[in-house]
């Protein structure tokens, strides 16, 4: 009896501790960041190396970088996941090779992706420091997590679906589009959110690819500073930039919540429209 009570007390304590750390972090950012947060902070350009002014161009650049990353990573990720789960045997050589390389890729530190992106996209492909380079580098970075979650989602759909639709004479592509992908949507969205979460917090991969320029970008070929790079620069490189760094961190958290809620509502929307409800 006492043992039981002790065990549950311990579990509660650990859970509270973890929640407490998160709450502390959030409270710290809100307390320091909220006083400077205003509409003008969100739309104005940074001034005096970021100490004054706002983060308007930085938010736009961040959004564009994420957009490039998602638009590139989702088709490739989805296609690879479909290949792995629907068109190869679990233990085939190709499947093992692709899965193995994805596992290695997902463990690669982001600075390595940054240096790769700099060498390949910026210099070799001649894209220079640009939002495109940054977005493509992030796409490479989030692909492994995207593919693995999408693959798990597809494999989790009951095999009865495949058998039943084959019995009805549906083609494999029709089965995929009308049954399997809708059924796997929650997993796909979860993977996308995990990937986006990693991407939006990325500094090391972006400072050498999308760069440091805090001007409003005219095109995807312009260098654009991401929010995380801006926060890093303000807190680590600019004396007196702490206040705006806190506010920018708050905006980053709000942006992440916003992206997550959009993704969730999209997932719900698609689920209601699909043939299969899980």
């Amino acid at each position: 009896m006492i043992k039981n009570a002790l065990a549950s007390a311990l579990i509660w304590l650990i859970a509270m501790l973890i929640t407490g750390v998160f709450a502390w972090l959030l409270a710290d950012i809100i307390i320091h960041g909220l006083p400077h947060l205003s509409w003008s902070f969100l739309v104005e350009a940074p001034g005096n190396a970021g100490r004054s002014g706002g983060i308007g161009p930085v938010i736009i650049s961040t959004g564009l970088i994420l957009l490039v990353a998602v638009i590139t990573a989702v088709p490739f990720g989805l296609a690879t996941a479909v290949l792995l789960s629907e068109f190869t045997q679990r233990n085939s050589r190709l499947g093992r090779l692709v899965r193995g390389s994805l596992d290695v890729l997902s463990g690669v530190p982001s600075i390595v992706f940054g240096l790769f992106g700099n060498a390949f996209f910026c210099i070799y492909l001649g894209l220079g420091f640009s939002i495109l380079s940054g977005g493509l580098t992030l796409a490479c970075m989030i692909l492994p997590i995207l593919i693995r979650t999408a693959e798990e989602g597809l494999q989790a759909t009951p095999n009865d679906y495949r058998l039943a639709s084959a019995a009805l004479g549906m083609s494999r592509s029709a089965t995929l589009v009308h049954l399997l992908l809708p059924a796997a949507t929650p997993a796909l969205i979860a993977g996308l959110m995990l990937g986006l979460g990693r991407a939006v917090a990325e500094t090391a991969a972006l400072i050498f690819t999308s760069g440091y320029v805090d001007r409003m970008p005219d095109s995807l070929f312009d260098s654009g500073r991401a929010l995380s790079v801006h926060i890093y620069d303000l807190s680590m490189n600019v004396a007196g930039g702490d206040a705006n760094a806190y506010s920018s961190a708050l905006v980053l958290i709000l942006l992440l919540l916003f992206i997550n809620s959009i993704a969730l509502s999209l997932a719900n929307h698609w689920l209601h429209r699909s043939v299969v409800t899980v």
Binding site: P75, F129, I207, A239
Partner: protein, 276 residues
């Protein structure tokens, strides 16, 4: 069928990228000036760039960071029009030209609660080489010294090593940091730490209530004033470097950055202007 779909997607994506590239190459009327290098100079260069753009509407100044060594190698390789280096050029870098736009001093900093108020040159060398490991040996508390040093490639490190005639392998640091702000935060958060950072940044942060103090060097107080009158011994130039004589926009930018028109920007970044 599906393979065909994937192939089509690939072709469309490649086409889209190429299309975007073509559009870009057709509208390059705007002249781009790329600066890379020292993270110390980068915020200043970005501000000078903004003011320069306001006078030259057809020019865009893109500033990227990565450290002085990167600035020098990018300028040499032609990846950047102008490199930024917060140190003088070394012997094997004399193939490049350098233009000093401002000065910065490097100061030894301690936590404010540390009773030690001055260290002589030999004591600092002994602390950084690990011969002195406890503050009581230099008249402080009985506490182990936390030696904070900078990462390889940082010009502050090179300047520090040069002044104290040390090699990086001689230094026995407990903490290795990158930027000035990181150094100030590390020392402010550890009462037994010793570090070295930019005088301008340290003076500003100390004035803003950071729990650090700047140690005098060879009897001369570490202050922006003493860097300006060049009496402070541990100071460094902030340089723009180019491969060969700069022409066109690069020339204009360097002239602009060396003129008194940007003195207020230099002072706003806690550096010391050289132009009068």
């Amino acid at each position: 069928m599906k393979k065909l779909g994937i192939v089509v997607t690939l072709i469309v994506l490649t086409g889209a990228v190429w299309g975007l590239l073509r559009i870009q190459s057709n509208e390059t009327k705007i002249e781009k000036l790329v600066l890379t290098g020292s993270s110390t100079i980068a915020p200043l260069a970005a501000e000078i760039g903004k003011r320069f753009e306001s006078f030259h509407s057809n020019v865009r100044v893109d500033v990227q960071t990565g450290g002085s060594s990167r600035g020098i190698s990018d300028a040499r390789a032609g990846l950047a029009n102008i490199g930024m280096a917060s140190r003088g050029l070394k012997e094997d870098e004399k193939d490049l030209l350098n233009f000093t736009i401002a000065l910065d001093g490097v100061s030894i900093i301690l936590n404010k609660s540390n009773p030690v108020n001055a260290l002589d040159k030999q004591q600092i060398i002994d602390i950084y080489t690990g011969k002195i490991a406890n503050w009581k040996e230099v008249g402080g508390n009985d506490a182990a010294i936390t030696v904070v040093s900078k990462a390889e490639g940082r010009s502050t490190l090179e300047l520090f090593l040069h002044y104290f005639s040390l090699k990086n392998t001689d230094i026995k640091p407990q903490v290795i940091i990158g930027d000035n702000q990181q150094g100030i935060k590390t020392v402010a958060g550890n009462p037994d730490a010793i570090g070295y950072v930019s005088v301008g940044a340290a003076e500003y942060e100390a004035g803003q209530g950071a729990v650090i103090k700047l140690l005098p060097l060879a009897g001369i107080a570490a202050s922006v004033e003493n860097v300006r009158n060049r009496s402070f011994p541990l100071s460094r130039p902030l340089n723009l470097v180019t491969r060969g004589e700069p022409g066109g926009v690069a020339r204009q930018f360097i002239d602009f950055a060396s003129s008194p028109q940007v003195n207020d920007l230099i002072e706003a970044q806690f550096f010391v202007p050289v132009a009068h």
